[in-house]
Point group: C2
Chain length 138, copies 2
Amino acid sequence: MAVHVLTVLAYKEGDRVTSACLAESVNTNPVIIRRLLLALQRAKLVETRKGADSGSRLSCSPARINLAQVYRAVEESEPFPSPAKKPNAACPVGNCIRDTLNAVFASAELALERDLEKTTLAGLLEKVKNSCQHAKGR
Amino acid sequence: MAVHVLTVLAYKEGDRVTSACLAESVNTNPVIIRRLLLALQRAKLVETRKGADSGSRLSCSPARINLAQVYRAVEESEPFPSPAKKPNAACPVGNCIRDTLNAVFASAELALERDLEKTTLAGLLEKVKNSCQHAKGR
DNA sequence: GACAGGTGTAACAAGCAATGTTACAAAGGA
DNA sequence: TCCTTTGTAACATTGCTTGTTACACCTGTC
C-alpha cells in the first residue's frame, strides 16, 4: 500500500496531495494514509505540511527513491516474526536455534532488499503507465 | 517453527519422533506440529508413519535439505499479501499497479529464496551445536 | 483575529489469520 | 484385541492490521 501511495505522489509530481485524496485512490480511510505517511516522513521520503493548502509530496525525485527504502520505512518489524514464546529450555536445539536463525534470516532479508533496490519509484511509475496504455488499448 | 522442527529431526538423525515429543521441544501443541508435518510431507521433506512405533523423520540427509525448500513448503501464501480490496478504478494508478508490483515482488522473493538456498539443514545444525557449546562454556 | 480545511493522535470496533484446545475416527504393530 | 499415535474437524483464543469516530492543533486566507 505504501508503494501505491508513493506512486500516486510521483504521478502528481510535486503537487501536494491531501490524505483524503490519497485515501480515495487506495480505497481506504484518510487516517490509515496519515499513519502510513508518518512512517514515510520518518524515513524522509515524503514531506507533509499542516494547515491550509496542506498535504504531502515526495521529498525528492522519484528516480532517487527505490523500493528497498520504502520497505525499510514501512516494515519496521521482522518479516520472520520470532514466536515470542520461549522454546523449551530442556530441548538441546531450542535454546540456541533462535540466534542462529536470526543470522540466517537477516542475510535473507538483506538479499531481498538488494533486489528491491533495483526498482526505483520512477521506473515503477513508467511501467505502470505502460501497462495502463496496454489495458486501454485492449 | 518449521525450521525448528526439522532441526530437531536432523538432530535425532533417522530416529522417528512423535508429534508429542516435537511439540514439547517447541513448546506448543501436538496438533500444531501435525499440521506442520502435513505440509512438510507434501514437500517430501519428512516421512511419517502411523500406528504403533510411529512418528516422523527426515526423508533424506539433512545435507540435501536447504531452507528455501522449507520456506516454499510452509509459506504457500505470498509474503507480500495483496490487499484483496480492489483499488479505486477511478485512480489512474490503482488500476494497473497491482500487476506491476506482483512482478517486482516475485523477483524479490526469488532473491530471498536464492539466499536461503545457501543454508542447508546440516549446516544449520552444525552452527546450532557450536553456539550451544559456547553457551555452556560461559 | 476569526475561520476553514487538513494533519496528528488517541480510543475503540471489526476482521482476519495464526495458534491453541478438545475430541474422535482410523491406522497398524504387539 | 488393545494401545499408541496420526489425521482431521470444530471451535476458542490471541494478536495484528485495518477501519471508524472524535478531537485538539496547526497554518494560510479573509
